[in-house]
């Protein structure tokens, strides 16, 4: 059970993406619903996924692309902007993933 307090002082500064995602309700599947062939990313100049994924699922570590599906908001942006067709994209099954209540 999370003991995150509501309306606290912490909110007065820019939140990290992980903290924003924590606000949502999740039921994350153990099977990834998106698979990225990162071998195709090495010579991709822009890597638009990094700035445009609203969930920060794409990060650069040592200038190599790292993808984690857990915080995915299922928007479809990465699939649209990827110039290398490196992404095998689908929605999660069994109602898993993010569960919106107030959007």
């Amino acid at each position: 059970m999370s003991s995150r307090e509501s309306g606290n002082q912490q909110l007065l500064k820019i939140q990290r993406i992980d903290d924003l995602l924590q606000r949502n309700l999740w039921d994350v599947d153990h099977r990834p619903h998106i698979v990225v062939d990162t071998s195709r990313c090495t010579d991709c100049e822009y890597k638009p996924c990094v700035l445009l994924c609203p969930a920060g699922c794409y990060t650069l570590v040592d200038s190599k692309l790292l993808f984690s599906y857990e915080g995915c908001l299922e928007c479809g942006t990465c699939r649209t902007v990827c110039p290398r067709e490196a992404i095998t994209w689908n929605y999660p099954v069994s109602g898993r993933g993010v569960l919106y209540r107030f959007s």
Binding site: S2, S6, R31, D62, S94
Partner: protein
């Protein structure tokens, strides 16, 4: 040939990630918190489905819960469970583990012949892990917990071999049927919901509701009256502020960096 009858007990729990604590009033904020099937119980469902795939038979899910739990029952029927019993009656409200396990044991007795009784390892909202052991005790059946798989099921000889996982070893047990089994968490990741099964859950009404009219249990043994547990106080573990150091760089260096910092924090000796 005789086919196994498997009962699986599941609990309908509030999705605890969504429960928040209001430090001003000292209470839990439950608004907009939906319930889910206790995630660890899905491992038990999955093991039951695997057992049925191998040996045939029937899977009956049982839950003691308010009517809203039908949604959870449809979820597991969607995974492939044959039928479900919702034990629901105002008189069961306020049950502690003793009263809950008594009610569940009596329900299982009423189902008739049962070979295997599966439970999850523990719940996410109370995590006592009392229920399976207590049910076994009421029914006077053997109980094995942390079970990962059913290795061999011989209904003719009335015995089963199960494998369980401990921290440092595996153990194999051969026991007589019927038996109560606590399924280890994360041991059997649940399969996806199937279209036709979910459709069956909605259209064929495979959920029975049992009240105390059917069970006829002594009011002194159920609900609040049958619950000797007294909660004297609930306190909240305040969140420890996280230090949040982030390492950017290659994994090999990262390990060294991490060990160094954990030593500095006295997490590692």
């Amino acid at each position: 040939m005789k086919r196994p009858r498997i009962v699986v007990g599941i609990k309908w729990v509030p999705n605890t990630q969504a429960v928040r604590f209001d430090p001003k009033t000292g209470t839990l904020i439950r608004e907009g918190v939906p319930s889910i099937v206790n995630p660890h119980d899905l491992d038990a469902i999955e093991l039951a489905l695997k057992t049925r795939e191998k040996y045939g038979g029937e899977i009956i899910v049982v839950t003691m819960a308010p009517p809203g739990a039908e949604e959870g029952l449809r979820h597991v029927i969607g995974m492939g469970v044959d039928r479900a019993i919702l034990v629901s009656d105002r008189v069961f409200a306020g049950s502690d583990t003793l009263a809950t396990s008594y009610t569940l044991a009596k329900t299982i007795e009423r189902i008739g012949r049962v070979d295997l009784v599966f439970f999850g390892q523990e719940t996410i909202d109370s995590s006592t892990a009392h229920i399976p052991a207590q049910v076994a005790s009421w029914l006077d059946l053997p109980y094995i917990y942390y079970v990962e798989s059913i290795e061999k099921l011989e209904l003719k000889e009335n015995k089963v071999v199960v494998k369980r996982k401990l921290e440092d070893r595996y153990e194999w047990y051969e026991v007589e049927l019927p038996v109560v089994i606590g399924v280890a968490m994360h041991s059997n990741p649940p399969r996806p919901i199937s279209l036709t099964n979910k459709l069956r859950a909605v259209t064929e009404k495979p959920i029975e509701v049992w009240t105390n009219k059917q069970l006829g249990l002594d009011p002194r043994c159920i609900g609040l009256r049958g619950s000797p547990t007294i909660v004297s106080k609930v306190t909240w573990q305040p969140e420890i502020p996280r230090k949040r150091k982030i390492y950017q760089g290659n994994p090999k260096e990262a390990v060294k960096w991490l060990i160094k910092h954990l030593e500095e924090e006295k997490v590692l000796p």
